[in-house]
Amino acid sequence: MIETFTHSNYTVAKLQIKEANLDVAEQFKTEILQLIDKGQNLIIVSFENVAYVDSSFLGALVSVLKYAMSKNGDIAVVQLNKDINNLFNLIRMNKVFKIYNTLPDVFA
């Protein structure tokens, strides 16, 4: 579901799915929680391959953010397509998550 690599203090978790929906939300949550429990609590979730996000998946994303924050960590998102970016702005997820256009922007 996710492919990970580390860059300085960050762990980049790249979603390997086209539709981020109910079917994958729980598994995504499990995989990210495992990373946080291993101490990797600064996570960048890359949506490069994702075309559509539904509300179940957003729920999972916020849930892992809350967990990361309770461990003094943070979760940012990167490479949202236009529709997903609009959705994030529309429901104010842009105030909850740091959003970056590209991975180099994160590390800039």
Partner: protein, 383 residues
């Protein structure tokens, strides 16, 4: 009623069989994707979830049984009905397949029209079972008086209030609507969406609604008539709740002052309110600033006050109203929705126009989520 085409994933190493069945299934009204190996099938499953898998037993590399095991071990796929396709009538093989929770097996020698009928029957039986379960949940919800929408809109002098609600596949819960009249002075209109209904979150909408109903009343009894402050109080309760804190919900909260026509509006992660100004004949969107309920301790809620004059209209909607499915691709597009309803506002029958278009049978078949809408109009009085 129009039927959505069912999707079948067909797996067989024999290209000829694949072509033959692919053709027959398409002719039989199915959408079909084909894989020549288990690996290929797993990739297809990752891209799109079929309604049924039809797979050969014997294939080079991983065979049908190994495929079945992989599918069963993946909770994303384990509930997809699985049918074995076989050229054997070996009872042991059939038994082994059925023991792996395959719903049936089909002999490759079976005449094609029979295969189509058999698949249709299987899908129909599953559908019926599903409908029966949903029906039982609905009956239980009704028996417990758990309703997420009121029976009728309230009647307020000088205003016309109405709402539309269509639940996705008739599951109860998900979106919720409520109107709370306080004396004869104020009416609160509530529209919320518990996100992630399909994974069972709908069940929480009743809890949310209870919280919200009591919070509004308690605030009003305490003299708090600010929608932003009420939202923040609800937010804090949900943020600290160990169960509800993990469930996200949007909320639009409106307070209508009956005498002045003022409407106070605050929102939590909700979609912009559509406001039609009758005097200017203009339509604009009003955005709230607050976060989804329960995300952060401080939800950053603001409060907009809109002075409704005679003929002015406003609508608030849940996100299901802006979901569209075009050529199998899903997208959420608020602008598309806004431009779609704009020409219908400012008419004497605006609500009916919107209802007829957005809730037509043709639209409903593309529903991918609950759809809700609240419509408020300050009625013109004859002077």
């Amino acid at each position: 009623m129009p039927q959505i085409q069912k999707k079948i994933l067909l797996v067989d190493d024999d290209r000829l069989i694949l072509m033959l069945f692919n053709r027959a299934l398409i002719d039989g009204g199915f959408q079909c994707s084909t894989a020549q190996s288990v690996e290929e099938a797993m990739i297809l499953l990752g891209n799109d979830t079929p309604d049924l898998i039809l797979s050969d037993y014997q294939m080079p590399g991983q065979d049908g049984f190994e495929f079945r095991t992989r599918v069963l071990n993946d909770k994303r796929y384990k509930n997809i009905p699985f049918v074995f396709l076989t050229s054997y009538t070996d009872r042991d093989l059939i038994q082994r397949g059925l023991d792996m929770q395959a719903v049936d097996y089909i002999d490759k020698e079976t005449p094609v029209p029979l295969v189509v009928s058999k698949l249709n029957n299987i899908l129909q039986a599953i559908r019926k079972e599903h409908e029966k379960s949903i029906y039982e949940i609905r009956v239980a919800a009704e028996a417990l008086n758990l309703s997420s929408v009121p029976a009728n809109p309230p009647v307020i002098e000088g205003f016309s209030l109405n709402f539309l609600y269509k639940s996705f596949e008739d599951y109860p819960g998900g979106d919720f609507i409520d109107f709370i009249c306080i004396d004869n002075d104020f009416t609160f209109a509530v529209l919320g969406d518990v996100m992630g209904k399909k994974w069972g979150a709908w069940f929480f909408s009743f809890n949310f609604l209870s919280y919200i109903r009591s919070a509004i009343r308690l605030c009003v009894f305490d003299g708090d008539l600010s929608t932003a402050s009420i939202l923040q109080k609800i937010n804090r309760v949900i943020f600290m709740d160990p169960v509800l804190g993990d469930v996200l919900s949007t909320l639009s909260l409106l307070m209508i002052e009956h005498k002045t026509g003022k409407v106070h509006y605050s929102g939590a992660g909700d979609l912009p309110l559509v406001y039609y100004n009758a005097h200017e004949k203009t339509c604009r969107r009003i955005c709230s600033s607050g976060l989804l309920l329960g995300v952060m301790q401080d939800g950053l809620y603001n409060e907009e006050i809109i002075n409704l004059a005679e003929g002015d209209q406003m609508i608030i909607v849940s996100d299901g109203m802006i979901d569209f499915e075009l050529n199998g691709e899903k997208k959420s597009d608020y602008d598309l929705f806004f431009n779609f309803v704009m020409p219908m506002l400012g008419e004497t029958n605006s609500f009916d126009l919107i209802k007829n278009v957005t809730f037509s049978a043709d639209k409903r078949k593309h529903l991918v989520d609950d759809c809700s809408l609240i419509f408020i109009e300050k009625i013109k009085t004859d002077k």
